[in-house]
């Protein structure tokens, strides 16, 4: 068991690939992803249309060592700036397997 940071990023589905590439660029390859996520934010409702997963959210959950946090956050910030979304960071324990 060791301490990690748990990043929870809710963002528009269209930005999925961009997030994955951005993470790769800072050497983060591992993540968990939830598709078809709905929500309501400053940019209105998401996830209620028959066309288009393109107007849904996806959620990324990324567990990373504390010392990687700032790099990751800073790499994601421009995406959050343009396309909105929510990014929460909390503390967690990683169970080694």
């Amino acid at each position: 068991m060791f301490s990690v940071k748990r990043i929870e990023l809710v963002i528009e589905a269209v930005e999925k690939q961009r997030v994955i590439s951005t993470l790769k660029a800072v050497n983060i390859f591992n993540y968990t992803i939830y598709n078809h996520v709905g929500g309501y934010g400053e940019r209105g409702a998401r996830g209620d249309l028959a066309f288009g997963e393109k107007f849904e959210n996806v959620t990324f959950v990324i567990a990373c060592p504390e010392n990687r946090l700032t790099t990751i956050i800073e790499s994601l910030r421009p995406i959050l700036k343009s396309y909105g979304g929510m990014c929460l960071v909390s503390d967690a324990q990683w169970i080694i397997h």
């Binding site: 528009e12 209105g44 288009g52 107007f55 995406i79």
Partner: protein
Amino acid sequence: MATITNRDYQLNSFQSLLTPSIMFFALGFVAQLIKSDLKLPVELTKSITIYLLISVGIHGGIELSHATFLDAVPSIFTAVALGVLLPIIAYLIINKVGKIDHLNAVAIATHYGSVSAGTFLTAIAFLEALHIDFEKYPIIMLAIMESPAILVGLVMASYLRGKHLNNSGAIQSNKSELIKEAFTNGSIVLLMGGLLIGDIATEKSIKTILPFFDHLFMGVLCVFLLSMGMEAGKKISDFKVAGKFLICFGALMPLISGLIGVMIGAYLLNFSVGGSTLVGVLAASASYIAVPPAMRMAIPEANPSIYLTLALGITFPFNVLFGIPLYYSFANFLL
């Protein structure tokens, strides 16, 4: 066909509003208004859309297998021209008359240069119910008109950004990527694929797949329109986000471009009443599948609720309920 008496036409036209497909549209709309808990699985609507696009493509392909590529050139040229001109006209109306800000105006306008396959399919159902023949070139135009407007939108947006706005720190979305996407869109692949397969495959082998892709078409279309009616009904409650000017725009713009389209079909392309009606429908319809996500990526500053409400909540039902019979009677009147 042009010698049909006016009274006959009116009867036919009214009766045509009572085709099952349009009644299913109404059913979906009403279900939403009375807040029924009726829901179609999203995957069903998507699957049906895929089916319809392939079917229309194959259908067109079979007919086109008798034609040469040269015959299609004027239609293709017209499709591109419409896709370029309509968004510019729409932008000018929205920005100059409606005083809507530049970027929202571009985002909305782009939708009107592209097309809605759902409206097109409803128009085909309408014509078939009236037993009106139509040329198959409009099917190619449907595939082609998806993309040019998106490019025009991109160009307008970056021009206006340079002229009127100082770029915020926001990421510039990759333009070449967006352009590629405009041309490899799923609907285009299905339509063009269907056209090609319908064109190339032998008559014998095509016959084996017609029980699925042809005989069921009109029935499946009913379920599609049921679902579209529900979507339109959902969106109609968002009316207020659009504001009075844009609501009017959502009904007047298709009227203008529909009539232009019919004239182009009748006089420029020398199509019959049926074919001219379809060109009118292509011009009049606003995209609600391909363009919204493209605009979301290209112009994140614009408000998606507005353009989605306009395209899906106003222009689509307007065309299905009033536009199609109107463009048809106009074509009838011209020819």
